[in-house]
Point group: C2
Chain length 335, copies 2
């Protein structure tokens, strides 16, 4: 490995001067500078980032801890974080917590030990995710998808507004009995979405039938079961709001197997990206969270905080409704 010392010898200067040239931390005589740069080029020298990290006590490495890398929404977030980080000269360590709070905790530890400069996280749980170790070490954390105490910031959509928007869309389409399948009751995002659904019904002067509001598991199996349960009701719903992309797969499967057609028999709005299936289901409406932008913004926010720590900043992004016919595209704030 070629070190700074090698370069300094080749250029006939001290390694301090090489460092100054490379980091631009101080003025260097143009001629000397040129000699150093020539030597760098000639030897194909590249600074050792580990040594630099140790000395500077910062690593130019961000960590991204996601709940579920197989979910296309988080994949999009991931790309956003990565692109924004790269643009600012940061690398990204990806950690897939796999909806496992212990795995998440372990990752957060390692990330702290590796002296990551900052962390973007989609928390496994608003209550149980513990970023104490990071905060103690002064490593700032930005939360996405779900708020987090102690975070230096967050980037979220207004889940209530988004769900309300979706519900209104169904009402406007003539739906009379709208059901909502949401995630676990202890999941902040899931309950916010349910809340938005209820609020929209209230506003429209519609009754909220408890039979039609189902807490499920954010998985395909849950969507499948919940949908079957709803379709078995004597008084069937004529519209469904399904609050995540994994459950919608179960829903679609259930409807398909029962020969229920969208949108003729029931109208359906789903949540989150499902890029492949969406193309193939022209009648499925969806609330789309701007995953890429969320990730991008989160990384930018994080990097800003590294430069100048201030008070926590919470950014609310806009979800858009992609209506089944592909016409209406409304940001949630417009409602």
């Amino acid at each position: 490995m070629v070190t700074m010392r090698d370069v300094s010898r080749a250029a006939g200067v001290s390694s301090a001067t090489v460092s100054r040239v490379l980091t631009g931390s101080a003025e260097v005589d143009p001629a000397t500078r040129q000699r150093v740069l020539d030597a760098v080029r000639q030897l194909d020298y590249r600074p050792n980032l580990v040594a630099r990290g140790l000395r500077r006590q910062v690593s130019q490495v961000l960590a991204l801890v996601v709940t579920d890398i197989e979910n296309p929404f988080y994949t999009a977030v991931c790309r956003g974080v990565e692109d924004a980080a790269r643009l600012k000269g940061y690398s990204v360590i990806l950690c897939n917590a796999d909806r496992d709070i212990d795995k998440e905790r372990e990752y957060l530890r390692v990330v702290a030990d590796q002296n990551a400069s900052g962390v973007v996280i989609s928390p496994a749980s608003a209550q149980n995710t513990d970023i104490g170790a990071l905060v103690a070490r002064g490593i700032p954390v930005v939360a996405v998808d779900m708020p987090l105490e102690q975070a230096a910031g967050s980037v979220l959509v207004d889940n209530r507004a988004a769900a309300a928007m979706a519900t209104r869309h169904l009402l406007a389409g003539g739906a009379r009995r709208i059901a909502c399948i949401t995630g676990p009751s202890d999941n902040a995002t899931a309950s916010d979405r349910l809340d938005g659904y209820m609020r929209a019904l209230h506003e429209a002067g519609r009754p909220v039938d408890p039979e039609l509001a189902i807490y499920s598991n954010y998985r395909e199996s849950g969507g499948y079961e919940a949908t079957n349960r709803l379709m078995d009701l004597a008084d069937r719903p004529d519209a469904l709001l399904v609050t995540n992309n994994r459950m919608i797969v179960g829903t679609l499967r259930a409807l398909q197997s029962r020969g229920v057609s969208i949108p003729d028999d029931v109208n359906v709005v789903s949540f989150d990206e499902l890029p492949w299936a969406l193309e193939l289901h022209p009648h499925l409406s969806m609330v789309r969270q701007p995953g890429y932008l969320i990730g991008q913004k989160a990384a930018e926010l994080l990097i800003e905080r590294l430069a100048s720590p201030t008070t926590p900043q919470h950014i609310v992004m806009e979800a858009e409704l992609i209506a089944k016919d592909g016409r209406a595209r409304t940001p949630s704030s417009a409602i």
Copy 2:
């Protein structure tokens, strides 16, 4: 931050002894040992991995460079790599090259500068991907999905065999004119698959009609166009082999818009995971590469090589055919 020095003071020993206890690099008196461990616990000390990395010259960090993180196949690979690495105490830096050879090159540089212990990569190109810098630094590289010169190993499926298997499946189902839509001609994987298709036709004594073999772009748009082109032929194919998961979305869309039904009008086999859509298209057969296992195996192979570098090892995994009715599940080697 609490350092080893703090622990050593608290335990009344030298930091060398603390290091010995923590790494188990030498015998330590049990009593001393206990005092050290107590101090570690009390102070909640955790070794600084950057300092350790600098001193030891190895980082316990692997890098994973993937071509396209939004492709579910690579997502699966990613999970496999991550789980296997974690199990062995390695962290994983994820780099999404986004099918961009320059981005890939840049990532490989940074990864080398960060002293990654090893790299798993799905190369953007068999010819142009340059791992010279890594090899020069002695950082071993394991390739997945596509072979790579100079790599310390590879984990691939036998793409020829897999495509041949798919083609035979279509023949067995009574297909008489089978078309193949494959990726770019300069893509090793794409041409291998086309090759397998042709071989199976030859073996069956069927003619290969050049009109029916289309090089496309591995993207949805390509699948869409190619399918339309095929369906516009005077002598239409009655079966389609589509060699990747993004193109199949285009194919399905094209068929859907033309009212062509699967499997009644054309039988279709696709390649690679498409988890969401598959559930919803019960008549779509597919060749499934074991993405998770490939990733897992690649990481294991890489970590082995770190311990004892030997000659390159090339592992061939088995692709399975998931037939449209969900019955037949045949490993490709059985053919």
